[in-house]
Point group: C2
Chain length 218, copies 2
Amino acid sequence: MLQTPRRTVSIAILLFDGVTALDAVGPYEVLARLPDATVRLVARELGVVCDGAGGLTFRPTATFESHPRPDVVLVPGGPGIEKACRNRDLLDWLAAAHRTARWTTAVCTGALLLGAAGILEGRRATTHWLAHQHLRTYGAQLTHERVVVDEPVITAAGVSAGIDMALTLAGLLAGDQIAQAIQLSLEYAPEPPYTTGSPATASPELIARVRASAQRPA
Amino acid sequence: MLQTPRRTVSIAILLFDGVTALDAVGPYEVLARLPDATVRLVARELGVVCDGAGGLTFRPTATFESHPRPDVVLVPGGPGIEKACRNRDLLDWLAAAHRTARWTTAVCTGALLLGAAGILEGRRATTHWLAHQHLRTYGAQLTHERVVVDEPVITAAGVSAGIDMALTLAGLLAGDQIAQAIQLSLEYAPEPPYTTGSPATASPELIARVRASAQRPA
């Protein structure tokens, strides 16, 4: 008896200089545990990519040219996002990949890159709280949720929200049972030591301090 | 007037082949935001280190020889931990570094390496839930908390617990205000999509499935 071959879902995590490492690695750790999925770190070239905090380097495993049509695109954010938003090769790859992808997703200020590529026009979306005002300039409807699903686009709030986004995406790709198993294998039952993780719960003084010290959105 | 120079806290995140990327990068992203701290990725050699999921490589920024006495040691876990526990150079560096460090810390199965280096004898500690039984063999007192502080040793539960641990550590190193600001800058107000992140809340069936599919602790 012939069996229909199971198709591997190809997932591309975009890398660029100044990417926030956790924006990429949180989702990577979730999505790499999906059965029948291949996660690649995609950049314009195979050279070394430096993270936004300056202490870590990534090595892309695929290029725009070798990997033009992933099933899922994931765009992390970081201090390098402004420069990335002016990179024509990157915007062209992203816009083209979005046209054939099942899901186009962003973490943190990665949403600004979706915006610059014309993907957020008229869509519900979110981004890092420090970058909320930028999102509107791309015609997006800013939505105050941690993970915003506006099929086929998913966006997440700042940095750590990528883990919540990736688990949501895992559920959409492979079903709740598999996503629940991944959450258990990552022992993701978070207990933040403080209640200051969102501007909705942090004090105005703390918000002002973080805003002042952020030269660029994280 | 003379000012006392502020001393930079040196933080060493250990790398080894088969490390779980998020075990290292979650804490990295928190600790790299500390003022007056330098975070280094330390390995025996400066060659490339592959992660446990097989899709990502790290490049260490310091070696055991160049970095023998960090102020803070952080040991991630991962599928490579068993082999790491038999690596004499690694255990020697860890045991020596622990003797002069202010804090020796572990995420996930990184605790087993602390155990193998003789650091957990008689101490309260935790690890990934799949590895609980191994912890006892090192004379540790298994403690069912997500982050266990037994000064000068801190251990955390599986994978994602490294973020909670690093924020706790940030508070101990730099004070609550700075740690709270880091939590806000990472927008760490988690909303896991499921309640299956801990064996205390997951169903027995899901626990059995994850246990069966885990060849080695994550």
